[in-house]
């Protein structure tokens, strides 16, 4: 089974702190994603990565950055946390789809990290 592991299930941070959310997948997936989930807003894509050291902005990248130094690990960084970044953060991974015809593009999600910024 694909396993996507997020390092922290619950975090409480103060405004202005730097926050690192870590995500590791064990299935050699090329693609990795960070979403945030808020009541009434569904899931919104923050950043994604399709290869080591490659990253692309999603729909709401402001206030966030990411790092992918190894294929299995994708980190989300909040440089200076603010209260409006209080949310559930979900990491996901998937196999590359274009040109392969071998997989479905299905995302596999981690358990989530609930961040509270005071």
């Amino acid at each position: 089974d694909v396993k996507v592991t997020q390092s922290s299930r619950y975090l409480v941070k103060r405004t202005g702190e730097k926050v690192f959310l870590e995500c590791v997948q064990d299935m050699d997936h090329e693609n990795m994603f960070w979403y945030r989930q808020d009541p009434g807003l569904g899931l919104r894509l923050i950043y994604f990565s399709y290869d080591v050291k490659m990253k692309e902005k999603g729909d709401i990248p402001e206030g966030y950055s990411v790092s992918r130094e190894k294929k299995e690990r994708f980190s989300l960084i909040l440089e200076s946390a603010s209260t409006n970044q209080t949310s559930m953060y979900l990491c996901a991974s998937s196999l590359i789809t274009i040109g392969t015809g071998k997989n479905t593009g299905e995302l596999f999600f981690g358990e989530g990290s609930r961040l509270t910024v005071l």
């Binding site: 090329e30 693609n31 994603f33 979403y35 009434g40 807003l41 569904g42 899931l43 919104r44 894509l45 994604f48 399709y50 290869d51 692309e56 999603g58 979900l90 996901a92 998937s94 590359i96 789809t97 274009i98 479905t104 593009g105 299905e106 995302l107 596999f108 999600f109 981690g110 358990e111 989530g112």
Partner: protein
């Protein structure tokens, strides 16, 4: 703008009843996904629909895709309490070199009452 709209957003139903959740999306796609989320948990994949007319069934849930109408349905047959959860549809609508970026609907929170 890419939009994926689900309705209803909230559904309370009695055990044994049937109901359908709808997922509409705003632009061309032939890849649609349904996920389930239990409270406090992450998303679990239910169905992957990869072509027009695709139909998948698992237990009391059946999903279908009409790409011409830009519509997917998730039909619940003879609901049971264990189906209580939030259901999300997600559509792969963006062209991206490496493939799939999903846009999610807002979710349908389903409560099945005894």
């Amino acid at each position: 703008e890419l939009k994926v709209e689900q309705n209803p957003l909230f559904l309370s139903m009695q055990e044994g009843k049937n109901y359908t959740i709808y997922c509409n999306y705003s632009t061309t796609s032939d890849r649609l996904y349904w996920y389930r989320q239990d409270p406090g948990k992450s998303l679990e994949s239910l169905f992957v629909l990869l072509s027009n007319g695709a139909v998948k069934q698992e237990g009391r849930l059946m999903a279908s895709l009409d790409t011409k109408a830009r519509l997917s349905t998730l039909h619940i047959t003879a609901a049971v309490h264990d189906l209580s959860a939030t259901y999300f549809c997600a559509v792969d609508m963006r062209e991206w070199n490496a493939g799939n970026m999903l846009t999610f609907g807002g979710g349908t929170r389903l409560m099945v009452k005894p």
